[in-house]
Structure formats: structure tokens, C-alpha cells
Amino acid sequence: MASREIVRYRSPLRSALQGLSILFLIFFFVWTVLPLFIMVVSSFKDLLDAFQLPEVGDWGDIGVMFDFKPTGAHYVELFTEKHFGTYLRNSLIASLGSAAVSVSLGSMAAYALSRAEFRGKRDLLFWIISTRMAPVVAVMVPLYVIFRSSGLVGTLPGLILAYTTFNLPFAIWILKGFFDNVPYAIEEAAQCDGCTRWQAFRLIIPLVAPGIGAFIVLCVLFGWNDFLFASIIGSGGAKTLPVATAELVQPVKIQWGMIMAAGVVTTVPMMFLGLLIRRYLVAGLTMGAVRE
């Protein structure tokens, strides 16, 4: 194997840039982590403590932010009075369900588009991705009408279907690229070994696992973070976390503590998903044997 060393020689400019990049990273870290930190900390404060803030520029008094008695009251209230358990479950079912449907349909479609040659294939591919080009809002009204007459409004299957319409084209495009990289000879070998076409297809699925992993993340994130579909198509029976959180903002007596707690409840599962998938993705990529 050829050497992959990247040669770097010291120069004043390089040192200066290095210093700058460290500064940037510190700034970036604070910028991204601080809001999360405040959210988590505030979710454990009661209303009075939450507004104990130091004067602007008074760094000496920063301690007051940490001077509080932690309370889990907001979380308890969230799950007992506000039924966040149900919403959490709805969010999980809607996003994971859509991911599952999109990944199973998407991988089959992507496989077919990767392997088969037929007239109009390029047009078909473009048509598939073009369905993603319109903004969600643009299709909302017609979708709502269709869903209402099919009795899908306010149901989880309806929400899953809505997310799938947007996830599926994406799945097909991502996965087609991964299937294109799997040599067809592997399937031919499988067929000679005694596989049917379907078994040969299943055999190469692990080879596109990194693509499927990446896609599942994007798909779940789309469903999990979605507000528009959830508030309109999911309204009523299939309320998800973002919608439920938004409803905590009432005209009087805004429940900051509960909103922060809801934010944590919404964020934490995705963080775990990220960790889980990251390990899986790395494992998939280091397998690196797709090419002979």
C-alpha cells in the first residue's frame, strides 16, 4: 500500500493558522454546547432560580447560575400531567416507523435502479429526486385533503406515510450510490453458489450497511424534528414531542422549566441514536472491503 502521509512543514503562517483554528474551536464549542448546557441546567431549576442571572459583563457573579437546588418536578409534571410519555412514544413510532418503511422500500428501489438498465432510467431518477424539491409547505394543503378523505389525519400511520413521502426519494438516491459500489460479480458468485436473485440481494445488504445507517439517521431526524407535518397531519391523535412542547407556550404563565425539560426529553434520544449509529457507521466503513 502506498504511503498516505500528508507532508506539513512548519512556517510562521502555519503556526498562526494553527493558533487561530484552536481559538475558533473553543468559540465553536462554547457556541454549540452552552445553549444545551443552559437548557439542561434550567430544566432542573424551579421558576425563581431560573431567572437568577448575573448582570451582563459581571463574570464574578457567574456563580449565581449554579446556586440552586436541583428539582425533578418539571419532569414529573411533564410525564404525569402533560402526557409526554404518549408523545414520546408517538415521536418514536412516527420517526422510526417512517425510517423502517423508507429503508425497506428504498433499498429495494435503489437496488433495482442500480442494477437494471431500462429506457428512461435517468428521467425516472430525476423525477424521484424532484419530489424533494418542493418545500413541505407547498404540498401541505393537497396532502391534508388527501389524508383527511382517507381518514389518515391524526393517526400515526398517516404521519408515517407523510414522512415516508419525503424520506423515500432521499433513501433511493443515497442507497443507489452505495449499491453502485458493490461489484455485480459478488451477486453473480452468490447465484452460482445457489442463491436466488432475492437471496443474492439480501446477501449484499451488509455491504451497503454504512449507507443504510447514514440514511436511518437522516430519516429519523427528519421525522423526530418535524413540526409542520406533526402539527397539521398529526394533530389530535398523533401528537409528537415538538408539537407538545410548542403547546407549553401559553399566553400566561409560560412554563419555562417544563419547556426546558421537554427540550431535554426531545434531545436526549437523538444523542443516543447518534452515538449508537456512529459506532455502527465506523464499523461499517472500516470493513472497507466493498472493492476488491
Binding site: 453473480e188 458468485a189 452468490a190 447465484q191 470493513m287 472497507g288 472491503a289 476488491e292
Partner: protein, 364 residues
């Protein structure tokens, strides 16, 4: 363990013809090599045998069973691919066990057969590894292992050792031949390397531009090529071709070239007459059938001038200019002078081949 009959098979890709009216019978347990340059239709033929491609017209039989419409899994073949086509996410053991697992072979039987195949191929210490951790030769052995764990009707090899380095390739030639004799299984081996065909096959089918040129034993292919293509494709260094004219003289029919005249034997002359040869012909002679000696004066007939000398260790190849043409002569290594020096060349007339200048068909 099967006879393979290819009967009037054609293959088209769209309007492009890949295989034309191929008729070939491969005997039970025979090692058949399909030899030809890239694009000659040899891989298409193999893939039609495997069932990986449709047959445009014609029939293929395994024994008496017409297999045209059978998918690969129902043909009971085992194929080794040019790029090995191992399953990257499975270990060597799992790769080799796959064909057995698909046939619902009992676990202990799979274990026994995979271990035996691995021992034959000397890859038993590697069974736990993944393909990425293997060298080219080891991958290739694994691919062969996957084929030999079963007892298929036919082995199909698609240039299995083309990507190995030269030394390993020559080693694997012997191994494969030995293995095939050992397993006694009908084998079709596709290659563009004439050396592989010559050294391993019972019979060779030479293909060019989709057309079967000649079918015969390696010895027949080498000594009695049916046309100029086969003559030029088989043999290393390749046969020398010289355009000549035929002249009737008092010593019989004579080949006349700008640098020499060669009297043909009576038998050769009658073959040419019987074939209705034109006055213009192309003669062919292998570098091994030319003799050479140093210096302008000597016992050999044809004067020449050395163009370049390529020593090969024990032998050397001397390129010599004769008249307006240049020929290669293979001889034992020894003092020969250098470029520009005179030499003399002797033709072994018995080993001469004469081809029609237009069609390339051999008269002898």
C-alpha cells in the same frame, strides 16, 4: 461430471454480435480452455454456460438436459471469477461454506468439506480471516475453495489467475491442473493467456471476434494452426509472418522473398496446389524453428543483419532483418555480436506454415 454441449449458440448485445454460431462439445471430465483476446466472446460463452446471461439463440446441454432456461442455482455449476468476487463481510470459512449452507448441508458435513478444501488449497490457517486481510493469491484460493467444496457438474473458471503476479501465476497453473485431475470434474477455463491454455488444457478452443477459430489439443493448436490468427496468437515469442510469392522452379515449388528463396517439399507443394493457392502467400515460421549463426560467412542459407538481441537467461531472442522484413529467432544464449552485425539464418522448411494472404486460412 457432465458432458457439456454447446449447439449453434449465438449471443447478441443489442445489435453487437459477441458469439457467432458456436458449436462445442466438452467431454466428461475434460479440461477445456477457451482462449482468445479480449472481446472475442469467450467470457460471454462462459457466462452463458453459467446462466448469468441469456442465450440469444441456440442450445446448451449438460448431459442431456437443456439448461437454456435454468437459473445458475439449478445448473449445478461452480464458477471462479476474475476478480474473485468473495463476500467481503464474510470470513474465508463462511465464504467457502456458503454454497453448502444454501443446499442445507448438515453443519458437521459443511465443517468437514470446508476443512478438506482448505487443506487441499493450503489456506486452512486463514479460515477465520476476512477477504481484506488476504493477499491476491489467498483470495484466489478462497474463491477456488468456494467452488470445490461441492461436487458440481461443471467448473467454470473466468481468468481466475489473471490478476496474480507472474511467479504465483505459474505456480497456480500447476496447482489448478493437478486439482482438476484430482477432482475429475468437467472444467471450462477462459483465458487470454495462451500459456495457461497450452500448459493446462486437454483441449483448447481458440476464439476470435465471436467465432471459433480452431478446436484441438494444445499440440495440434501449436503445430497445426488452422489459420493465421491462431498461429499468431499461440506461442511466445509469436510466429514470424513474411509475405512471399510462389514460383515454380526446377527444384519444385519455391517461396520467394526479397531476402531469400526456399524450396518447398513435394508434400507441401501438393497441399498448396490442392488448396488452389494464389501466387502471393504469407508464410509463418516459429522463432524456435529458425537457426542462426554469427558472421556473414556460414553454412546457413539466408543472410541477415542483427537488429537487437534480447537475452532471456538460458535462451535469447535475436531480431534479425532479412530483406525488407524482420524476424525473431530463438536460440541458446551465446556470442552473437551486436546490432548491425551480419548473421546467417536457416529455415526448418518442414515446420513452415503457409497462409492465404487474404483469408488467413492455413494451407499447412
Amino acid at each position: 461430471m457432465a458432458t457439456v454441449t454447446i449447439s449453434d449458440v449465438w449471443k447478441y448485445y443489442g445489435k453487437t454480435m459477441a458469439v457467432k454460431e458456436l458449436n462445442l462439445e466438452i467431454k466428461n471430465n475434460e479440461f477445456m480452455c477457451i482462449l482468445g483476446p479480449s472481446g472475442c466472446g469467450k467470457s460471454s460463452t462462459l457466462r452463458m454456460l453459467a446462466g448469468l446471461e441469456f442465450i440469444s439463440s441456440g442450445d446448451i446441454y449438460f448431459d442431456d438436459v437443456r439448461v437454456n432456461d435454468l437459473p445458475p442455482r439449478d445448473r449445478d455449476i461452480a464458477m471462479v471469477f476474475e476478480n474473485y468476487a468473495l463476500y467481503p463481510h464474510k470470513t474465508v470459512y463462511e465464504n467457502m461454506a456458503n454454497p453448502l449452507k444454501l443446499r442445507r448441508t448438515p453443519k458437521d458435513e459443511i465443517e468437514r468439506r470446508v476443512r478438506r478444501a482448505a487443506e487441499i488449497l493450503e489456506i486452512d490457517p486463514l479460515l477465520g480471516r476476512k477477504p481484506v486481510e488476504l493477499s491476491g493469491g489467498q483470495k484466489q484460493r478462497t474463491a477456488i475453495g468456494r467452488a470445490i467444496v461441492r461436487e458440481p457438474k461443471v467448473f467454470l473458471f473466468d481468468e481466475p489467475i489473471a490478476h496474480l503476479d507472474a511467479k504465483l501465476r505459474s505456480h497456480m497453473r500447476g496447482e489448478l491442473k493437478h486439482l482438476q485431475r484430482d477432482l475429475e470434474t468437467t472444467t471450462v477455463y477462459v483465458t487470454h493467456d495462451q500459456l495457461e491454455g497450452m500448459s493446462m488444457a486437454d483441449r483448447i478452443a481458440v476464439m476470435h471476434e465471436g467465432v471459433l477459430q480452431q478446436l484441438g489439443t494444445p499440440e495440434e493448436i501449436y503445430n497445426q494452426p488452422s489459420n493465421e490468427f491462431v498461429a499468431g496468437f499461440v506461442g511466445e515469442p509469436p510466429m514470424n509472418f513474411l509475405d512471399c510469392t510462389l514460383e515454380q522452379t526446377n527444384v519444385g515449388l519455391t517461396v520467394v522473398h526479397s531476402g531469400f528463396r526456399l524450396a518447398l517439399t513435394e508434400q507441401q507443394a501438393s497441399l498448396l496446389t490442392a488448396g488452389g493457392a494464389d501466387a502471393n502467400v504469407r508464410i509463418g515460421i516459429r522463432p524456435d524453428n529458425l537457426a542462426i549463426e554469427q558472421g556473414a560467412e556460414g553454412s546457413l542459407d539466408v543472410p541477415g543483419e542483427i537488429f537487437v538481441i534480447e537475452p532471456l537467461g538460458g535462451d535469447m531472442i535475436v531480431e534479425v532483418t532479412i530483406g525488407s522484413d524482420r524476424v525473431m529467432v530463438k536460440t541458446k544464449i551465446g556470442p552473437m555480436g551486436g546490432p548491425g552485425d551480419p548473421c546467417r539464418i536457416g529455415f526448418d522448411v518442414d515446420k513452415l506454415h503457409v497462409f492465404d494472404i487474404n483469408t488467413g486460412v492455413a494451407y499447412f
